[in-house]
Symmetry: C2
């Protein structure tokens, strides 16, 4: 696949910036509203700060993290900025708070923040709460209603799956989705990335590789376990992909089966998906529908597929290897790759913020 043209995905912020009379507060850095980035020292938190700046989001990012990171200096808004202590942080000074700490931290602090500002939470804690919208802006970003002032950002692999299923739903109703994932180490945060790097270094130097973040060695290996096991035999990650896909698409009965697997890749998740429809869907029509959908890049030719190395650092969801699946009456198989830290997490969270901003300033 060719390097993507990212201009399309910048449009929300740019439209806002080019429509200045509606944005009463976009005057200078000091007059900008505050946006708290909670979990700012984590893999996703750092990416959120970077994406906010790249997209010229009209707010000043305040990095917030656990007490042990207090006072640490990180780059935000293009300048060195001290990290605030979450335990003492006053959310009344913020218009928005983008949370990406652990889910226990979100469970405790997101409701406190939501008394003062809208929270966009990247953890799994609130996602399946009926009063919490679970949002991928291109898919279900219209008329967001958040009674608790908390909006949930979906699971990373789920985002790239629903970004692909949504345009295909225009062609025919879905019957069943089977998806097997190839998920990058950064999905387990900085600790996951560091563990993979250390293991690779140890193997190169013929030393035994230890593991603690992952349940097996990940370097030169793959691990069919992400998150903990449920009584059903599914992992929690597999369950998340099932229930979150249904919730985001508004299809509570959709049949979804998933196996989630960690692979020794730093950034970008891949999904091998097999989708069954109620009616015939031609590959060419699927390519057209995907091509017209914002945030998706689709490959036309067999050889023109995307790999994690192509998608890392990019904003789009890359769909390739589209082909007829003749093992069911009306089936398509495909290969879906996206940067799990960007569209799978930080970018999607910032896009939710942009959606709120556009709505509030409309």
């Amino acid at each position: 696949m060719k390097p993507p043209d990212q201009s399309g995905s910048l449009s929300a912020s740019q439209k806002i910036l080019h429509n200045r009379q509606k944005i009463h507060y976009h005057l200078s850095m000091t007059s900008l509203p505050n946006i708290a980035v909670v979990g700012a020292t984590g893999a996703v938190g750092r990416e959120i700060i970077s994406v906010l700046q790249q997209r010229e989001f009209p707010a000043r990012a305040i990095p917030v993290a656990s007490p042990r990171s207090q006072g640490k200096i990180i780059s935000a808004n293009g300048q060195p900025t001290p990290v605030q202590n979450l335990a003492e942080f006053n959310f009344a000074q913020c218009r928005l708070a983008l949370f990406s700490p652990g889910k226990k931290v979100s469970a405790e602090h997101a409701p406190r923040a939501a008394r003062h500002c809208t929270v966009i939470d990247n953890t799994s804690h609130f996602r399946m709460d009926p009063d919490t919208p679970l949002v991928v802006p291109e898919v279900n970003g219209h008329n967001i209603s958040a009674p608790k002032n908390i909006i949930a950002n979906p699971n990373c692999s789920t985002i790239q799956l629903v970004m692909t299923l949504k345009p295909l739903l225009q062609l025919a109703p879905l019957v069943r989705v089977v998806a097997d994932t190839y998920q990058a180490a950064s999905g387990a945060g900085n600790a996951g990335l560091q563990e993979l790097n250390q293991q690779q270094h140890d193997l190169q130097n013929e030393r035994p590789a230890k593991h603690s973040k992952f349940t097996r060695r990940l370097a030169a290996n793959v691990i069919p376990q992400i998150d903990t096991f449920l009584d059903s035999g599914d992992t929690r990650e597999e369950w998340k992909m099932q229930v979150e896909t249904r919730k985001i698409l508004g299809l509570p009965e959709l049949r979804v089966q998933v196996t989630c697997v960690r692979v020794p890749v730093a950034v970008a998740h891949s999904v091998a998906a097999h989708v069954e429809f109620e009616k015939p869907v031609q590959v060419g029509d699927a390519v057209s529908a995907l091509r017209d959908f914002p945030g998706v890049k689709v490959a036309g030719e067999n050889e023109d597929f995307a790999t994690p190395a192509d998608a890392a650092g990019r904003d789009h969801v890359f769909v390739s290897r589209l082909r007829q699946d003749n093992s069911v009456k009306h089936g398509l198989s495909m290969w879906i790759v996206a940067d799990n830290l960007r569209k799978g997490a930080a970018l999607n969270a910032v896009q939710i913020a942009e959606t709120l901003l556009t709505r509030d300033n409309a």
Copy 2:
């Protein structure tokens, strides 16, 4: 999973060795029949020589390879042995020839060898020929009939899939199989392994990683292409898994859909499989059926899954993560791992040879 007890899988050779009066030629090394190992310097060829020795196969291995390896000294039968030149090699001196060169070399030389001895060919060239049996001994090794004196060894990922499907077929007829693979670099031979190693070394030293054997960089990446593309959009590897599974199981109408993906692992392929049955199949019954099947190790508990690192160097096919798939009426999902050079190639070829030997000496 615990390290497997490999004694069970040695039984064929051992039974033969302990039944000496039937084996008229097992007297001394010099009186042993010859077995040509063609492609002896390749990843699979070397493994065949090693497996023959480990299993005390009653024959003397003669390493044979392309002219450029002629005279090279490799270890065979526990001693340094010069490699013979395939172009000039006389198969009349052999009772068996185990081929694992490229498929073009097999296409040319296997029929010549088959005029003098039985050929077991590990390439894809003869596999779908109606007159060539495609054999996994535990699955369809009874009453092998080889009119052309050539027996084909199946595709590596296919072997571990059919080793799992065969015992499950005792419980209920199959409706459909969806399988996504996580295939090791050694499936592309020594060249694949070397390319992965070189790329990993280059990335560690922050040098650009080149690729030629694979169509993309494999280190720190995954590649959804194995073998070339067909007009259908499937790769030839995906097609092989479909048609070979049908042929080995004797189910020409079986519905199979596959996505084959290369992962940065040295040895051992993994398969995420989703199997639909005609009748209900309980996880416990599947575990029992798999446990009773020779050559399969099955995990009982969620956490007790196998990874490539567990399976590399082992003889068994490891089935784990067995769970109900509620997205179809009667479904099971599972995770299947096996050493692609052993059960996926060399071991299976030697087991075919053992099957022939047992039959001929019965």
